[in-house]
């Protein structure tokens, strides 16, 4: 068993390493981690340092990405924005994956009425335009980074639940589950010890793509003024001033948008790469 396990990992890594786009995505994701952690050391200026003499100045050697309407350095703000995106992406997806996995496992393992009820609930949640639901809850509960993460998580678990349920349904019929039951394993032990580890790989793909989605949603919310509130810099709320000053300051709109584009692209490429590497049917 142990041998097989490591063999699987080796093949996975080999497949992933061969995929140049996925590796590029992974590199950017790693870079963003480093930038977020080291942000205070990397920024050329204080991201909240107001400078009345340098309002809306275009990109230059002093300010690579220009300055905003309060004279703050856009590069520094974009670097700090990476922290917010990372945090929102990971916490929101963590919540979504935890709920989705639990619902999927329970639904697939117990089947019957529990399964029907849970899956109908999934159908109901999927009927709501997710963005409407998120907007409504956040506006009611006060916009804050924590509320955003929780709400994006609470509205994003349905896909994971369906994936895990499908996996669980097929794993449940395997001989080793029967064997586990024969030696007297409890339901909980079977679910978490024997089914979960084998059902988790598609979740990895969904989670990676989910981080990208959460970052997009957060930026849209912050852009609309109900996400991360200024003065805390986030890519979305820098773009809000980008919109207000679109006639005079293109750099306010260009750079944060590019940051979002590159980040989301990187997570998507990595996620697709993981999917291909996990799928033995993909031809090389």
């Amino acid at each position: 068993m142990a041998y097989k396990h490591s063999y699987f990992h080796a093949v996975f890594w080999q497949n992933l390493k061969r995929n140049r786009l996925a590796m590029a995505g992974g590199f950017v994701v790693g870079l963003l981690f480093v930038v977020s952690v080291l942000a205070p050391l990397l920024v050329p200026y204080d991201p909240n340092g107001i400078n009345a003499w340098q309002v809306l100045s275009p990109p230059s050697w002093q300010h690579w990405f220009g300055t905003d309407e309060l004279g703050r350095d856009v590069l520094s703000r974009v670097i700090y924005g990476a922290r917010i995106s990372l945090k929102v992406g990971f916490v929101a997806v963590g919540i979504a994956v935890a709920i989705g996995t639990l619902v999927g496992l329970v639904s697939g393992y117990y089947s019957g009425i529990i399964d029907t009820a849970l899956m109908r609930f999934v159908d109901i949640m999927l009927c709501f335009p997710a963005f409407f639901l998120i907007l409504a809850v956040i506006a009611i509960r006060e916009p804050s980074i924590w509320n955003i993460m929780i709400v994006i998580g609470l509205t994003g678990w349905m896909g994971v639940a369906r994936l895990v349920r499908a996996e669980t349904l097929s794993i449940r019929e395997m001989d080793y589950i029967m064997a586990a039951r024969c030696i007297g394993c409890s339901n909980l032990r079977i679910i978490f010890r024997h089914i979960l580890p084998n059902a988790i790989s598609p979740v990895l793909v969904a989670a990676t793509l989910g981080v990208a989605g959460a970052i997009l949603t957060e930026s849209a919310l912050s852009f609309l003024g109900i996400g991360v509130l200024p003065p805390t810099p986030s890519w979305g709320n820098i773009l809000t001033s980008g919109k207000d000053y679109i006639e005079f300051a293109w750099w306010l709109s260009l750079f944060p948008g590019l940051a979002i584009l590159v980040t989301v692209l990187a997570y998507n490429l990595l996620g697709e790469g993981i999917r291909d590497a996990l799928d033995p049917r993909v031809k090389r």
Binding site: I124, L126, C127, F128, P129, A139, F223, L224, S253, L265
Partner: protein, 324 residues
Amino acid sequence: MTTYLAKRIIMLIPLMIGISLISFSVIHLAPGEPVEMQVAMNPKVSKESRERLRKLYGLDKPLHEQYFSWVGKLARFDLGRSFSSDSRPVVEKIKERLPVTLSLNIIALLLEFGLAIPIGIMAATHRDSWLDKGLTIFVFIGFAVPTFWLALLLMYFFGVKLNWLPISGLHTLGSESYGTLHYLWDMAKHLVMPIMVASFGSLAGLSRYMRSSMLNVIGQDYITTARAKGLSERVVIYKHALRNALLPLITLLGFSIPGLIGGSVIFESIYSIPGMGQLFYQSVMSRDYPVVMGILVIGAFLTLIGNLIADVCYAVADPRIRHG
């Protein structure tokens, strides 16, 4: 077919109940009461009038009673009155906004499908060509571009830099006095950017979906048979393969509705288009709960109906579903 339809319609009932329950509870997540919001604006409101307000909105009753009275009204298309100063019925407010959003989204949807189907076919039939590779790049970028950023960029280029297109609203001020053709031309110019933004995001995904669906069908035995009996490639692709490859797209049509409606918040508020998305955004910002609740429910019901229509279309198109 009738049995299938009846089954599907009966299945709608529990979903509708669930939707109403969730919409109702979302609003009651609010700290304090909706009345507090109105009262907070005006410090002169006395305790008695606060009680009167509570009674007016039925907030003095227990939660389950509030829910049943709300659902009872919902069944009669009564969504209550808006909290805003005009205090008009919510249904009326939504009714004047819905057509704008629906027609915008339908145009965007037609554009998407009109472009995605040929792109998908081309990419599938010319696999690994420059077109196929170009599509892959386009798909990844399409998934990663934030729609509101795209809206900003378009606004900058076509609105500010080139000054070709108007950047907000549906009409030019005073366009009522224009002739019919001029009036429509003016509106069309206002709609170009919003429709581009609305259709761009899903265009990428849809094209790729069409491509993989087409590739899947081309690998089937009946396509090999069609080729083996000497049919021309054109007949094989457009007659035998295309019909079957289009089937899964019907389901996708149903799935794309909530995304489209949700996305309308963004482009409608950027381009100041008086649709349902803008109304929702404004109501959320001013905590106009009856309107928020009403739009949530109507948005979800629209999705439900869209899914039903898609499923029925699928059943009409594919006998395997109807009889299976």
